[in-house]
Amino acid sequence: MEFWITQTFNGVSYGALLFLLAGGLSIIFGMMRIVNMTHGSYYLLGGYVGLTVIWKTGNFVLAILAGALTIALVGLGEYNAFLRRLGGQELGQVLTTMGFALIFQDLGLVIWGGDPYTIPAPAALSGSYQIGELFFPVYRVFIVAVAAAVAVILWVVLEQTRVGAMIRATVDDAEMARGVGINVPLISMGVFALGAFLAAVGGVVAGGFVGVYPGADFEILPYAFVVVIVGGMGSLKGAVIGSLMVGLLDNFGKAFFPELSYFTLFAPMAAILAIRPTGLFGRA
């Protein structure tokens, strides 16, 4: 029983981290159909910027904000200079964003070196909650709380506000949205920046959990993609459920079948896609 609770908790907290990447990625996919190989780099660079801010100021909240805002600007620049013009050209998008991912990877090496770092968590977030025999690290609970807050905010914005309605309209049919007077290019730009912002938040938060190290970008990227395709592109609900599924499958797969752990993650995903090619909640 303890094993199940602990493993489930670990799976959920990793799923929460994935949601921070995949939530934005999913809306970007749904809206612009951009295959963004740089999304993992936003996560890694966000973590690095957060690390530097922590070193300089010691302020964790500032680290999250600075990391996220810096990366949102980076994403905005990349989108405006290149990706905006590559609409509908999947190959062009993959190769361009892969180019940026390699450049960012190298910049990370130049600026922060090849050593792994951990972002020190503030005292309030260290230690564990104890319930009976079980220990729950506060930091992991914090990650779940952050992801849940982001999910609720995104949901409220998407479903309850005028801007959200514009975003949903653009996801459904960009041409019609433009026709009824929605500023689609501006909305797209905002959503792309938001996706980069959230990925960087994930990166800083992950810095106190799995650490910041070269290669983290390409380690997490396939996971984020899998969440998005399984959940369905453009679906917030799909991103939430997909993140939890991937987090749990990854954790239990590693616990039960260490030799086949990635297989137990990606094979069920492929099976779901065989039945529903557009993902659980996606529309073609």
């Binding site: 996919f29 290149f82 050209q89 999947e90 190959l91 180019g99 990635y262 896609l273 065989a274 090619p277």
Partner: protein, 320 residues
């Protein structure tokens, strides 16, 4: 048949590939061998990417299947070349047949994403199925094949000619496929799937067969790669490798077969030569990715064709 100037051009290229080895340093010779093997892989991807219009983000899987067949069978069972070749090709074909069933239900971005997930399945096995693949350590000590020829393939020059023969064989097979009515219907599907369907073609089956042929030829390149490298590791099947194959095809020029082979040569040479001079080769490789899309969206072959026609290359298409 081909126009005369192209026959002459191809003849000169072939002649250069045939006579060059004795004049090259052993370093350049290994790079050229590597370029030929990656050339096969890039050409195999071109069949589905260039001719059929399906961008696969998991093509490194087939390189891995061929290479791991060689690694496991030679080091553990002492299998000879023909056995590993048969197993490698069969394995790649079977996996492509299974993956094709899943992936070909989707098109466009979805196809790209599903092939990525499927490629990760193979990567995951290579990475974690330690008892079979030795995980991240990889399988080392793969011997060069012994074909009973008077020349030992352990030496650089004989192995180069061996790879060249494999390259020409793969080129011939793929050339026959794309020139056949079947290959023409693949191009038709790329141009307009709905029209081909209306004309009564079984679109799905055409794509499926193309997908399996591409995977099998990819597996062939993997068999050569395993023998060439003497070492197989999960790096051969990772996502970055799959994207690199896409780059080779795009850089050379889609739907030209030899273009992607040329692209493979450029990337292999660039990666290895630049890394000799600078540690910043990732930066340069990244710039090549972006530069290809911005300046040569139709690849090297496309740019040369446009130059020959005296047309200015079109700048990056703007789609507001």
């Amino acid at each position: 048949m081909l126009p005369r100037h192209r026959v002459i051009g191809l003849g000169i290229m072939l002649l250069l590939l045939l006579v060059a080895p004795p004049f090259l340093s052993s370093f350049l010779l290994t790079l050229l061998t590597q370029a030929l093997i990656y050339g096969i892989l890039a050409m195999s991807l071109d069949l589905i990417l260039g001719y059929t219009g399906l961008a696969s983000l998991g093509h490194a899987a087939y390189l891995g299947l061929g290479a791991y067949s060689v690694g496991v069978l030679t080091t553990r069972h002492g299998a000879n070349f023909w056995v590993t070749l048969a197993v490698g090709l069969l394995l790649a074909a079977v996996v492509a047949a299974v993956f094709g069933l899943v992936a070909l239900r989707a098109t466009g971005v979805y196809f790209l994403m599903i092939t990525l997930a499927l490629g990760m399945v193979i990567w995951g096995l290579a990475h974690r199925w330690v008892s079979m693949t030795q995980g991240d350590i990889g399988i080392s000590g793969v011997p060069r094949p012994d074909l009973g020829l008077p020349w030992s393939l352990a030496k650089g020059i004989p192995f180069y000619y061996f790879s060249l023969a494999g390259f020409l064989l793969a080129l011939w097979v793929l050339w026959v496929v794309v020139r056949s009515p079947f290959g023409q219907s693949l191009v038709g599907i790329r141009e307009s799937e709905s029209r081909m369907r209306t004309l009564g073609y079984h679109v799905w089956l055409h794509k499926y067969i193309g997908f399996i042929i591409a995977g099998t030829v990819g597996g062939f390149s993997g068999v050569l790669w395993g023998y060439y490298n003497g070492f197989v590791s999960p790096a051969d099947v990772e996502l970055a490798t799959s994207v690199e194959i896409l780059l080779m095809v795009a850089l050379g020029g889609r739907a030209t077969l030899l273009g992607p082979a040329l692209g493979a040569g450029v990337i292999v040479l660039l990666k290895n030569l630049v890394s000799v001079y600078t540690h910043r080769w990732l930066l340069i490789l990244g710039a090549v990715y972006i530069g290809t899309i911005v300046y040569a969206p139709e690849g090297i072959v496309g740019a040369v064709r446009q130059f020959a026609k005296g047309v200015k290359p079109e700048p990056l298409r703007s789609k507001a």
